[in-house]
């Protein structure tokens, strides 16, 4: 049965969702006595109007791309990996350990090692829930949530214990060696004569994230493994018929998912903080769920959704600066977008589908 053209599904509906979210947010702003148009202007100008704004926006975007990919690959196998938060935290641990263990001479050497360790640690953290799901039937949603808590406790323990710098108050590791410093956009673009703000956290990891988007696409739609993952996600019984081993697919998919989440650490831990701090993930693991949902588990969609959330994060901070809008209100606006684009998707989808069906009828199709 023909429902809607594809462009409506992938573009029109998310845009409508966004519009509604912005309208409601505007009403919220009006209610607290702020000018919504000015606020929107601030958000846009603050996140895209200057190279520093762009630098922050893309920094957040990079985080969300990684966690969105983590959620996306799991979704293709119809698994709801809520553990991105914990996996990204462990990825941070892996990155921190390898960067602190070796006096890295140059980032070109440090980055591959960080990618390897971040991915490995993230994957390892996803492995236990995956194994429990595959072999014992423990529900992945429950176990991954639990593992977020375990990860938070473990990180707390390590960062207040063995990894902490003696005499320092903050629950954080020592700073990574100079040689582990990833080029920021400023440093990357200067040789080309492009002046990019020195003070924005966006760094080389953004390019790694873009590369990962491409790898994701190849993996899902061009490889046999992706074929098996998608087949398993669509129908487990059919996968079994075809000789696809469900336990193996669950575990492999979750390992990849955890690795993507763990890779986020090269951005926030290696690229930005240059040391491992407590609660470094700051909810990006959960935002990944919304990003993947909104991006329909497709790399282009994930990129756009991640960019949108990057804009919301950076623009939200600008609202605090320029309009003294309380942090909580900014969170409300961000939550509205997540709610409307993710959870309440059907609210808009149904009427739009009806409209299209009516149009088909009118055309006598």
């Amino acid at each position: 049965m023909k429902k809607m053209p594809r462009w409506a599904d992938v573009a029109l509906i998310p845009i409508l969702n966004l519009l509604i979210a912005f309208i409601i947010s505007g009403l919220v702003l009006l209610a607290i006595g702020k000018d919504p148009w000015a606020a929107l202007g601030t958000m846009i100008d603050g996140s895209f109007g200057s190279s520093r704004g762009v630098g922050y926006t893309l920094y957040y975007t990079t985080n969300f791309i990684f966690t969105g990919l983590a959620m996306g690959i799991a979704s293709h196998a119809r698994m709801f990996n809520i553990g991105g938060e914990g996996q990204a935290a462990l990825g941070g641990l892996g990155v921190a350990l390898i960067l602190l263990a070796v006096p890295w001479p140059h980032w070109t050497l440090a980055l591959p090692a960080a990618i390897l360790f971040g991915g490995l640690f993230g994957a390892a953290w996803a492995f236990i829930p995956a194994y429990l799901q595959a072999k014992r039937g423990s529900h992945i949603v429950i176990t991954t949530i639990m593992f977020n808590f375990i990860a938070a406790s473990l990180m707390g323990y390590l960062l207040t214990g063995v990894l902490k710098v003696p005499g320092k108050m903050a629950a954080e590791t020592a700073k990574f060696p100079e040689g582990a410093h990833l080029p920021t956009f400023h440093e990357m673009l200067a040789p080309f004569g492009i002046e990019f703000s020195k003070h924005a956290p966006a760094n080389l990891s953004f390019l790694v994230a873009l590369l990962c988007l491409y790898v994701f696409w190849i993996l899902v739609w061009r490889t046999r493994l992706g074929y098996n993952i998608r087949a398993f996600g669509e129908s487990e019984s059919a996968a079994v018929y075809a000789g696809i081993n469900p336990a193996k697919i669950i575990i492999i998919t979750m390992l990849i998912s955890g690795a993507f989440a763990g890779l986020m650490a090269i951005n926030n831990v290696m690229g930005e903080a240059e040391r491992l701090i407590h609660n470094a993930v700051e909810g990006a693991g959960f935002i990944g769920i919304a990003v993947a949902l909104m991006g329909r588990n497709h790399p282009i969609g994930i990129f756009l959704a991640a960019l949108l959330f990057g804009f919301l994060w950076q623009g939200g901070a600008e609202l605090q600066f320029e309009h003294q809008i309380p942090r909580e209100m900014v969170t409300v606006i961000q939550a509205l977008v997540i709610l409307l684009t993710g959870a309440l998707d059907n609210m808009v989808r149904r009427p739009v589908e009806k409209l299209f069906i009516m149009r088909y009828k009118a055309k006598g199709l």
Binding site: I218, R230, A238, G243, Y360
Partner: protein, 527 residues
């Protein structure tokens, strides 16, 4: 003037015969661009059994769902007992005296029969009075219509036939005068079906009106008084059953003449391909599903497995297909297969030349949300010719092959990019068949080859199976359609309760004998 006379005549007619139990006028219903029901008008007389026959997707179920309040018609009126009635939901249908027995029963497994009958129709706060009333009614009905079921038995302990009776009792407890049965015999043995028909006859004689939805011509001929034929959302004819023939009905359903028997040459038997000995399967609940069965298939032979569904046929296919654990011995070309249920075995079976068209193409044979071209290699995705290297698939090769196969099997529309879900049942089955048969297997396992397939495609599918046999391949055919097994198979094995009840050459047996075996009555059949 002529009009006045006409009107007068109609009124006289209306006076002469009582108002029909149900009359539908100009019912139309569309789902998006699909017109499921197109201007349908039908009269169902009181105290008759009215059959509605049509291919899958002809719109029978949609029409009945409108009558039962599940869907709202886009246009048209419903008259119950001569009065126009609005049926916005099933509650309204029940109060209008309509009862429905679904294909998939809606019973609470761990409730007793009595509790299920009363469920949703309890009177008052306390349950006991309702239960007492229902018990009395059940006793009466059992005596009157052979509707005997133990009121205190748990549903989960009942056979399928008994469960169906509980559904009928539920409708009668709600004072239904009009009973709609949707494909009621699909899950029954011939004996159970006969029993059901006796019940229905009794109800009809007591003045109830019965609408029977089916695609089986034999049932229509056996029990209905009137039959309406649907095709592509339209009501093509309503005829008295006594005045029609199966051939005529089939033609009305399909819109052209149909070969009901399969034309095939005598089998040229070759050497033994498959040998099954003492095969046992125990399911996760510890129930023995296959109780030590054995048979063989030779090259150039179609072995049919007859039986009511759920008697071990599915397990047999799963074991041979390589994705269920079993004990015993299965050999292909004399080489023993590993039955440990190792999860990669479905792959190794394919490599050994066993192709498998599964019983349920939606759950197993296809990924409905995959494109046709992706489905065309499903199960064979590891074949080097579909892969560029160890990691990347060769989508171009798959695409080209899909186009060729779609041409050869006349899949419509021949568009490899369409999702499997968007093909009709027959064309979906052709995709699966094209994939499996074109592998040129030594042994083809095929389950329910024509379930949910339109009559036009059935012919084609049967031809393909016979052709494969004539190429000297071995075929294991599992079907719950006795007619299909009889006409296709060279040799028939009947399964009941995980055992083989008997083996017959199809040329030397008939439906009656097989029906007895399917019901587990060995002596009766042998006698």
């Amino acid at each position: 003037m002529a009009t006045a006379t006409e009107t007068g005549r109609q009124e006289t007619a209306a006076l002469a015969s009582p108002a029909p139990a149900i009359e539908l006028r100009g019912i139309s219903k569309a789902f998006g661009p699909v017109q499921a029901n197109k201007d349908i008008s039908i009269r169902v007389e009181k105290g008759t059994v009215h059959g509605i026959i049509g291919e899958n997707g002809a719109g029978k179920s949609t029409l009945m769902s409108i009558l039962y309040g599940f869907y709202k018609a886009d246009a048209g009126e419903i008259f119950i007992g001569g009065k126009e009635t609005l049926i916005p939901d099933s509650q309204a249908a029940i109060s209008a005296g309509i009862g429905m027995v679904f294909q998939h029963f809606k019973l609470v497994e761990n409730f007793t029969v009595l509790e299920n009958v009363v469920l949703g129709a309890e009177e008052g706060f306390r349950l006991t009075p309702s239960l007492r009333k229902a018990r009395k009614l059940l006793t009466e009905l059992a005596a009157e219509y052979e509707l005997n079921v133990d009121p205190d038995a748990l549903i989960e302990d009942l056979s399928v036939g008994h469960r169906q009776r509980v559904e009928i009792l539920k409708a009668l407890y709600r004072k239904a005068d009009i009973l709609i049965l949707d494909e009621p015999t699909g899950v029954l043995t011939p004996a159970e079906a006969d029993h059901l028909f006796r019940i229905l006859e009794g109800l009809r004689d007591a003045g109830k009106t019965i609408i029977l939805i089916t695609h089986k011509l034999r049932e229509i001929m056996d029990i209905t008084d009137t039959v309406s034929v649907m095709r592509r959302g339209e009501m093509t004819a309503t005829v008295k059953t006594s005045e029609t023939s199966p051939e005529h009905l089939a033609e009305l359903m399909v819109g052209r003449k149909v070969l009901l028997r399969v034309d095939k040459k005598p089998a040229q038997l070759g050497k033994e391909i498959l040998k099954v000995e003492n095969l046992r399967v125990v399911d996760e609940q510890g129930v023995e599903r296959l109780k030590g069965i054995g048979f063989n298939i030779r090259a150039g032979e179609i072995l049919g497995i007859a039986g009511v569904s759920g008697n071990g046929q599915s397990e047999l296919l799963e074991v041979l297909g390589g994705y269920a654990e079993a004990t015993g011995k299965v050999s292909l070309h004399g080489e023993e297969l590993d039955l440990s249920g190792a999860e990669s075995d479905a792959q190794s079976r394919r490599l050994k030349g066993i192709a498998h068209v599964p019983e349920d193409r939606h759950e197993e044979g296809l990924i409905l949300n995959f494109h046709a071209w992706e489905n065309m290699v499903f199960g064979y995705q590891n074949d080097p010719k579909y892969n560029k290297n160890k990691i990347l698939m060769d989508n171009k090769a798959i695409w080209d092959e899909t186009q060729a196969k779609m041409d050869r099997f006349d899949v419509r529309p021949p568009n490899p990019r369409l999702n499997a879900a968007n093909f009709s049942g027959g064309n979906q089955q052709k995709i699966v068949l094209a994939r499996e048969i074109e592998r040129n297997p030594e042994l083809l396992l095929i389950g329910q080859p024509t379930r949910g397939v339109d009559i036009g495609a059935i012919e084609f599918i049967h031809q393909q199976i016979v052709e494969l046999r004539d190429q000297g391949k071995a075929i294991l055919l599992v079907s719950v359609e006795l007619e299909e097994v009889l006409s296709l198979a060279d040799r028939i094995v009947v399964m009941f309760d995980g055992q083989i009840m008997g083996e017959r050459l199809s040329s030397e047996t008939d439906e009656r004998e097989l029906g007895m075996l399917m019901a587990g009555m060995k002596q009766g059949a042998d006698a």
